[in-house]
């Protein structure tokens, strides 16, 4: 074991570079590369604002995942939480005929409920976060599929003020800034305040660094784990609502890869998989790289299968760059 780690592994210099300031260089290279390759199709404001929109709900969920990973945990059920929220919302508003506000209220309950379930299993039953959220994610996925027997729900024209709901994802602030992107920036700011200025933020970093020492210093590990999972699921829930407001459908197949792609984005951005290390970069750079990547791949006309394959390989590269040396 020890001998192998001393040996120089090929790839490693490139990966070291990626781990350092490399991610920002990669981001700039991607922008330059795609501007040359696709020209005005890529650089047009409509495409860029489209990327910004797509990045924003993905990024809102990424904040929660970042927090979980920093605290030494994992949450791979975020995608299914977002999907379940969307399904609950569209079911309430079409099949149950509720008005907008009641449907919003009910679907916003999904996040805290999911967070409490995850947090309870991880903090109170001492199940490891990864396998716990993997199984709860499976449960939420099946629940989302049950809601409308595996079928998509189309919201269009169900209630009078549905346009109001759509506008949270489709409108622009001050005529140019996409509203969800503004919300994303506000959430990032909130994350920064929480992580650097509050006691909770300090405790989350401490627990991620070394759980046992944190417990010995009198920090409440269980409570903090519960709170991080709660925050993570609530953010995923909000992200799910933004997505539904954009697409106008409750789609049980949506977001299924989020659990892994979000982890990829955050890890590419420099958050340490083992916890205790990570900052804003993890969200902004990682999410932008991921958003640009999927934009480039779809502009290149690759099928969804190829996109999954390439995303998986990029994720692998990101994780390899952080492996224990």
């Amino acid at each position: 074991m020890e001998k192998s780690s001393e040996r120089k592994i090929p790839l490693s210099e490139f990966l070291d570079f990626l781990r350092g300031k490399g991610t920002i260089v990669v981001l700039i290279l991607m922008i330059v590369f795609s501007s040359i390759l696709f020209g005005n199709t890529f650089l047009s404001w409509s495409n860029l604002s489209n990327v910004m929109r797509q990045v924003s709900w993905f990024g809102i969920a990424a904040i929660g995942v970042n927090l979980c990973i920093i605290s030494g945990g994992r949450d791979v059920s975020v995608g299914y939480t977002a999907m379940l929220t969307g399904m609950v919302f569209s079911w309430c508003i079409t099949k149950a005929g509720m008005n907008l506000w009641l449907a919003l209220l009910l679907s916003l309950c999904v996040g805290p409920a999911v967070g409490l379930i995850n947090g309870f299993i991880i903090a109170k039953l001492h199940v490891r976060a990864m396998i716990a959220t993997l199984s709860t994610g499976w449960i939420f996925c099946s629940l989302g599929l049950i809601i409308n027997n595996d079928a998509t729900i189309y919201i269009a024209g169900s209630t009078k003020n549905i346009e109001l709901f759509y506008s949270i994802s489709r409108s622009n602030l001050f005529g140019f800034l996409p509203t969800p992107f503004a919300v994303f920036l506000v959430c990032v700011f909130g994350f920064w305040i929480m992580a650097s200025k509050t006691k909770l933020g300090r405790v989350i970093y401490a627990i991620g660094g070394d759980q046992e020492s944190a417990a010995m210093m009198g920090m409440n590990v269980k409570k903090t784990q519960l709170i991080t999972h709660l925050i993570c699921s609530i953010l995923a829930c909000i992200a799910g609502l933004f997505l539904v407001a954009r697409t106008g459908v409750g789609d049980p197949a949506s977001c299924s890869q989020w659990g892994f792609t979000l982890m990829a984005a955050v890890v590419i951005g420099g958050t340490r998989m083992r916890g205790g290390l990570g900052d804003l970069r993890g969200i902004i750079v990682g999410v932008l790289i991921y958003g640009l990547l999927s934009n480039i791949l779809s502009m290149a006309g690759l099928s969804l299968y190829w996109q999954n394959l390439i995303t998986g390989l990029v994720l692998l590269l990101a994780i390899l760059s952080q492996r224990r040396s």
């Binding site: 074991m1 001492h126 993997l134 892994f260 998986g312 692998l316």
Partner: protein, 321 residues
């Protein structure tokens, strides 16, 4: 940090229940079906139950060894998709059946080698590495078949899937299943390799200091698991008579993890319980069958299996503390 819990108070009955949770749940479900499902108590239902479990049993046996080595293999479902697509496409294009089977198993071995290398050589966390592998392999299978389902008819397939032997109508498919159970039991309990696997699962550092090749053991375990997953994919292919890279093997890894954990093998590794895993795999099929018989949507079965995993893991952690 952890309080004294259940097991210290509960006596031997509690231990017995925890150790045999899977078998007890099987008995409960069988009784339930015997009471409430028409025509359940027949020799044919038994054969159906076992025949439907076959592919999951293959995957579960591999998973038992992987988990007892302290790792997890989430890519088995995707490997099933790969092996069945390759074999199916090869047969459809007019190739030799035996060659198709060997090709599919060979590719499964390559996948296992990649998995083992990622975990043993590059020291990635098994769950994270396998999530990526699952995504990549499934996408590869979908790209290979362009996501199109195809009918595959083959003489081997018809023989394995439909042939019944003897007067008590024993399905042929049961024979490889018994062989693989015996093989896994033999490897895990009767060879030094089995001991190495448990040692690595218990404590990698100690195993290394005892002169066990940790990396080699982990790679071997992943190879074993993927080749069994490849077999599982072929069985699914022959049973259904069609390849479909989108659905074959979907969620099998989760069912297998549920079967293994409820069977008493701890996710932390160090102990392989073959009997428990057999009962666990039967339990998974029983859950699916019960849900089908009761006219509930099949997704309910997945929810129940998810609950079984959480329940089993909670039991393990209570037992430990």
């Amino acid at each position: 940090m952890q309080k004294k819990t259940l097991t210290s108070k509960a006596g031997t009955a509690g231990h017995f229940a925890i150790d045999n949770a899977a078998a007890l749940m099987c008995v409960v479900l069988i009784l339930y079906n015997a009471l409430f499902t028409k025509n359940f108590v027949q020799i044919n239902s038994l054969w159906n139950l076992i025949a439907q479990t076959t592919s999951l049993m293959f995957v579960t046996m591999g998973m038992t060894l992987v988990i007892s080595a302290g790792c997890t293999d989430l890519s088995v479902g995707a490997i099933m998709a790969i092996s069945s697509s390759i074999c199916g496409e090869y047969i459809v294009s007019g190739g030799n059946q035996a060659a198709a089977i060997f090709l599919a198993l060979g590719i499964s071995l390559v996948c296992g080698l990649i998995n083992g290398t990622l975990v043993a050589r590059y020291k990635l966390q098994p769950l994270v590495a396998m999530l990526v592998a699952r995504m990549v392999y499934r996408a590869a299978a979908q790209i290979y078949t362009s996501g199109i389902a195809r009918n595959v008819s083959s003489s081997i397939g018809a023989f394995i899937a439909q042939k019944r032997l003897f007067s008590f109508r024993l399905p042929v498919i049961v024979i490889p299943m018994i062989l693989v159970i015996f093989l896994t039991w033999f490897i895990a309990k009767k060879t030094s390799f089995g001991k190495h696997v448990e040692a690595v699962g218990n404590n990698q550092r100690t195993a290394y200091l005892c002169g066990i090749s940790v990396a080699g053991t982990i790679v071997a375990v992943y190879l074993f698991s993927s080749v069994l997953a490849g077999f599982g994919g072929l069985i699914e292919l022959f049973r259904s008579g069609a390849t479909d890279a989108n659905t074959i093997g979907l969620d099998y890894e989760m069912s297998a993890i549920a079967a293994v954990t409820i069977g008493g093998t701890s996710m932390r590794g160090g102990k392989a319980r073959i009997y428990g895993s057999i009962a666990g795999a039967l339990l998974m099929t029983l859950i699916t069958m019960t849900v089908n018989f009761s006219n509930i949507t099949y997704q309910m079965a997945n929810i129940l299996k998810g609950v079984v995993i959480v329940f089993a893991l909670a039991l393990h952690s209570i037992e430990r503390s």
